[in-house]
């Protein structure tokens, strides 16, 4: 089974291009620029060089020895947290920055939830000399203060968004409003595998390197493919990046972990597959958390990067076809998993990635002896304040 969209960017019934008319031409321009860049060896050469010398690829596939012993599994960790800026997001930012250069755009805008995409965008803008504006919900600015300052240190203009739930969804809406207004000079560097075509495909392609490396590395280490690949899913960019090169390996289970938040009530989680319906948000058709009248629901996750009401359309398609399975991990289990990984392997994961670690821990007893790859999409430095709040026993007043 392959996974490619049709000419209109549809993955089965999902994806597509639902956008205000003003944005349709720039989306077409981006699609054409990307299509020609894909075929241009000079583009790949420049991107590969940046990924190697600037971002730090390839990232290691690390065998988590102590945790594997405890869980009676063979647990490998794909160390995207070791990339420059501390998360996988830089893969996509470097790719899109090169496209912006090709299109002659001088100004870059982006949305950010946890701030990882905002930091990666600010970083490539500093690297290429682009003017940079990042939209971030005020609630996220509060809980990811460190990343806000990192962006400012890198020269970005961080704009707080005060509409709606003041999280990732509202930051995307505000970035789209900016793009509608400044479309001639500006490239919207969307940070996840969602939005109108060509973003879901293009962002996925820039992150496929994660899965390509992991597949080669696990074959070298184990001489066989893993039993499962596990990744957290907000918009779903790190997950689709590691899943995609394994899609045709039908023996490999692909497991996406959404934010289970506090509980199962609408508004208290971001588990789109469990609680959502097909709908259209931010330019593509996918599973969307919404009320019975089609109004987008608010979401909650301890992790700002997973706190979003929709999910990348290719995940929706993989879900419906049964090629990938999606489950949810609650706030508490994610924090606990972060503590477990920190204490057993000396790796502090981002809260987002901790959801994937939690699922590996949960599955281990029912899958003894199996080999898992967990995509550790980001490191946990940015989350230290939230870990402190949630692990009070380690921080006596």
């Amino acid at each position: 089974m392959t996974s490619q969209p049709d000419a209109g960017g549809h993955f089965g019934a999902y994806g597509g291009r639902y956008a205000p008319e003003v944005l349709m031409s720039p989306l077409e321009e981006l699609e054409l620029t990307y299509a020609s860049a894909r075929k241009d060896p000079a583009f790949h050469k420049e991107l590969d060089e940046l990924l190697t010398t600037y971002a730090g690829r390839p990232t290691p596939l690390y065998f988590a020895r102590r945790l594997s012993e405890q869980l009676a599994t063979r647990l490998y960790i794909k160390r995207e947290d070791l990339l420059h800026t501390g998360a996988h997001k830089i893969n996509n930012c470097l790719g899109q920055a090169l496209l912006a250069k090709r299109m002659g755009k001088q100004r870059i805008i982006a949305e950010t939830g946890a701030g990882q995409h905002g930091v990666a965008t600010s970083t490539v803008c500093a690297l290429f000399g682009f003017d940079c504006t990042v939209y971030m919900g005020e609630e996220d600015m509060r809980r990811q203060r460190l990343n806000v300052f990192r962006m400012r240190l890198l020269g970005a203009n961080v704009v707080g968004v005060t509409t709606g739930s003041r999280t990732l969804k509202d930051a995307i809406s505000e970035a789209m409003r900016d793009w509608v207004t400044n479309v001639a000079t500006t490239h919207y560097l969307l940070g996840s595998a969602l939005g109108p075509h060509p973003y879901p495909t293009m962002v996925r392609d820039f992150h496929r390197i994660i899965g390509i490396e992991a597949r080669r590395q696990i074959l070298e280490a184990e001489g066989r493919l893993p039993d499962a690949v596990i990744a957290c899913v907000g918009g779903g960019s790190n997950a689709i990046g590691i899943f995609h090169p394994f899609i045709e390996d039908e023996s490999v289970k692909l497991i996406g972990v959404e934010a289970g938040g506090r509980d199962e009530r609408l508004g208290q989680h971001a588990a789109r597959f469990a609680g959502g319906f097909p709908g259209v948000l931010h330019g593509s058709r996918s599973y969307v958390l919404q009320d019975e009248y089609g109004q987008i629901a608010s979401t909650h996750s301890v992790s700002a990067g997973l706190d979003y009401a929709s999910v990348g359309p290719e995940h929706a398609w993989l879900h419906d076809r049964g090629r990938a399975e999606y489950c949810a991990c609650c706030d508490k289990d994610a924090v606990e998993a972060a503590k477990t990984l920190s204490r057993n392997e000396g790796i502090i994961p981002a809260l987002e990635s901790a959801h994937a670690v939690a699922e590996a821990i949960r599955r281990a007893p029912v899958s003894p002896g199996q080999t898992f790859i967990v995509n550790l999409s980001g490191r946990g430095d940015k989350d230290i304040d939230i870990y402190r709040e949630n692990l009070k026993e380690l921080d006596p007043a």
Partner: protein
């Protein structure tokens, strides 16, 4: 012939540019909206765009965003908006165009919407984020029910896209005067007139232009070039500030749009 087509025929006969007024249904309450529509009609509005509030309106500026928030807080749904339309329709023949985003309509269902909207006296529909590429089923369903489908054309639209917009639109074509979100602006963008000229090459449908139009002078400046001018955020702002003067606000807005056959 739909009420929208009849309106533009009548405007042509009168050699008059029409006034399209947008308001967010349910702002501040669903009960208030029919009175506002009557006031707008008495003040000279020829067609009403009835906005269905959506939680995440990516094409709208702060004025209409906040109106949407108020309307949602007051419990406005597609069903409520259709009730408002039915109430207006009992007393008025003013054309009513539903104006919203795709998701509330998807959730309601195209078939059901087409049927219920027609029954409520709605004349057509415009979905801001339903691009022509994705609109086949929607257009088919609406047209079968005898409803017009209006699409937006923008200064950034390519010739190919203008042709598609012309093909998928009925009733009229809505031209976006500028790249940007809805909102009150000082002047008319210099992208406005070239777009009108380009669109004429592809369609004989009436053209209405909006986005950023907020003064009688702006209305007057556009009037010689289009069949109708759309005023949105300025109406919504008037409702927010002083709804009791809505009629005189609209009368002022249309003061230069006089028929030359009286």
């Amino acid at each position: 012939m739909t009420r929208i087509a009849r309106l533009f025929q009548e405007l042509k006969r009168q050699h008059r540019c029409g006034m399209v007024a947008y308001l967010t249904a349910g702002d501040p309450t669903p009960e208030a909206t029919p009175h506002f529509i009557e006031a707008l009609e008495r003040g000279g509005a020829d067609l009403i765009e009835l906005g269905v509030p959506f939680s995440d309106p990516i094409a709208d500026g702060p004025v209409i965003q906040q109106a949407g928030d108020r309307a949602l807080a007051a419990g406005t749904t597609v069903e409520k908006v259709l009730e408002i339309a039915a109430k207006v329709r009992k007393r008025s023949e003013i054309p009513l165009l539903l104006f919203t985003y795709l998701n509330p309509v998807l959730r309601y269902g195209f078939e059901k919407l087409a049927r219920d909207a027609k029954a409520a006296g709605i004349d057509g529909c415009l979905l801001t984020d339903a691009s022509v590429e994705e609109a086949g089923e929607y257009v088919h369903t609406m047209r079968n029910a005898g409803l017009d489908t209006v699409f937006l054309a923008a200064p950034t639209s390519s010739e190919r896209r203008l042709k598609l917009v012309a093909e998928y639109s009925s009733g009229f074509v809505y031209l976006v005067s500028r790249t940007g979100i809805t909102g009150v602006r000082e002047n008319i963008a210099d992208t406005a007139l070239p777009l009108i000229e380009r669109m004429r090459a592809y369609t004989g449908l009436p053209l209405a232009m909006g986005f950023g139009i907020s003064t009688p002078e702006q209305v007057a400046a556009l009037a010689p070039h289009v069949e109708a001018v759309v005023v949105g955020s300025a109406v919504v702002r008037q409702i927010e500030r002083d709804p009791s003067n809505l009629e005189s606000f609209m009368r002022d807005m249309t003061r230069y749009l006089k028929s030359d056959v009286s």
